[in-house]
């Protein structure tokens, strides 16, 4: 989607402490350039905090202590190169779908590229809803707008925090495919608790589990994302992952 070469990201010595509970410490992982890396883990394991660390959104929040080193493989700073897509679509209710897509340009004071925004909305299948407000859109459509807004930023690194978790199955599957297609040259780190989502989208999958958390890479992934739903090995791996996750869940 863009011609900027996406860098790999190296995270080392990540540490998260909440009150007296140490969620993870000395956690290190590398996110491969221009690939989808999925972090899979049960709720409350610190997945969102891990993404916040990378995005640089580490505002002190009460008793939370979040530290770590995050560097890009090309040595340049990460700020200005990261786009964030959260579970909540975060659309502004007073703006239309199109205006929501270009909000980044408005906030920076640059002239928004309307043609590009419209093209993106067409790509996510919203050519007929550009002038509608978020309250007039369904949950799936809203998340499509959010995806278009993320793409509009043309960032080489995209962090996604359970972006499709609030959607119904059909919409989730469609949006996974869209994301896999449209973010093809980006370095993507996707956090999810849905094994199927990780298996469909990930070039690499790490399972976050344990106390404190460690990262275990899931080996032997075949085929390239988005993997087909009727892929037999996919279903096998899903069963395997679900087992692993329920053990991890019991430990949180």
């Amino acid at each position: 989607m863009n011609n900027i070469t996406a860098p790999a990201i190296h995270i080392s010595n990540a540490r998260l402490r909440y009150a007296n509970k140490l969620l993870f410490d000395r956690l290190s992982v590398s996110v491969e350039a221009a690939k989808f890396t999925c972090l899979l883990g049960p709720s409350g394991v610190g997945k969102t905090s891990f993404l916040r660390l990378i995005s640089g959104l580490i505002a002190p929040q009460g008793q939370t202590e979040l530290t770590g080193t995050v560097v890009a493989s090309d040595g340049k700073p990460l700020a200005n190169r990261i786009a964030y897509l959260a579970q909540a679509d975060l659309l502004l209710p007073w703006l239309t779908a199109l205006e929501n897509v270009i909000i980044g340009a408005k906030l920076r004071g640059s002239k928004p590229d309307l043609a590009k925004a419209k093209h993106l909305l067409v790509q996510v299948g919203l050519e007929n809803s550009m002038t509608l407000r978020p309250s007039e859109l369904s949950g799936g459509m809203r998340q499509r707008v959010a995806l278009a807004r993320t793409l509009f930023e043309s960032r080489s690194i995209v962090l996604m925090d359970e972006p499709f978790a609030a959607l119904d199955t059909i919409n989730r599957i469609k949006l996974q495919e869209l994301a896999a297609t449209l973010l093809v040259n980006c370095t993507v780190l996707l956090v999810t608790h849905d094994p199927l989502e990780a298996l469909r989208l990930g070039h690499h999958i790490y399972v976050m589990a344990g106390q404190p958390v460690t990262l275990i890479e899931l080996k032997g992934l075949t085929g390239s994302p988005p993997r087909r739903l009727d892929d037999q090995t996919l279903l096998h791996r899903q069963a395997e992952l679900l087992k692993q996750l329920s053990i991890a869940q019991a430990l949180v």
Partner: protein, 243 residues
């Protein structure tokens, strides 16, 4: 039953109850005039009442408009310059501890018997509820929006205009509704302490002359004006802020 039918029914019932109280209680007109007498008085003095209403309405609207401008402006300054907020907010709250009624005579001394003193009284009464409501709204912008804007490298000024201000409009709207109900009160207080015209002046004057029927006529006119103002404000806000 539709809303307006219900309201009409309530109004008629109140008028009937009022008339029955007056008739059965044999209350003299200088204690409690009945609705019929009040209406007669309104009709006979209509030119006087209408011209007085015009003056009060002008003071109310001017005070409301200026109060809204000053209130919104202070809220924006206070949110944008945080150090200023820490120093000015206590001062603002202190200024509200002064009862407007107590300083209104002073305003008459400073600004005379004309409309100016009344407009200023109105502004003083309503700018703070507006500042307070708007500032609350501005400070309660959802954190997730602010963070999203941060990842988009928003400038502070654009963040304020593109996200914080629109997000605070519903809060501002409740401040404005409140202001619309306070505004006529401000003008009346101003007229009460010293005026040569207006509904407040007429109220005080008729009270002193025991023309209670005229006083009632003024009161009802005042109520009608205040209701109309609130209704118009509510309608405007509903059409502006649709989300």
């Amino acid at each position: 039953m539709k809303k307006w039918q219900r309201n009409f029914f309530i109004l008629i019932s109140l008028l009937i109850a009022w008339q029955i109280t007056v008739s059965l209680g044999h209350l003299p007109a200088f204690i409690l005039p009945g609705p019929r007498l009040t209406f007669m008085s309104w009709w006979q003095n209509s030119a006087l009442i209408i011209s007085a209403t015009g003056i009060t309405l002008f003071e109310t609207l001017a005070g409301l408009l200026l109060g809204i401008i000053i209130g919104c402006f202070s809220a924006l300054v206070l949110i944008y310059f945080k150090p200023l907020r820490l120093w000015l907010l206590p001062l603002l709250i202190l200024s509200q501890a002064l009862p407007t009624f107590a300083i209104a005579p002073l305003l008459v001394v400073w600004f005379g018997y004309g409309v100016m003193a009344k407009i200023i009284t109105t502004i003083i009464m309503l700018f703070f509820p507006i500042t307070s409501a708007f500032l609350d709204g501005l400070r309660q912008t959802p954190n997730a929006w602010l963070e999203l804007a941060q990842t988009m490298n928003a400038t502070k000024w654009r963040l304020l205009w593109q996200i914080q201000v629109p997000a605070a409009l519903p809060s501002l709207a409740s401040g404005l509704r409140l202001a619309a109900t306070i505004a006529p009160m401000g003008a009346i207080v101003g007229e009460w302490v010293g005026a040569s015209n207006g509904l407040g002046f007429l109220l005080l004057n008729s009270n002193a002359r025991m023309q209670i029927d005229l006083m009632f006529a003024c009161l009802f006119t005042l109520i009608a004006m205040a209701l109309l103002l609130y209704f118009v404000m509510d309608r405007l806000l509903r059409s502006w802020i649709r989300w």
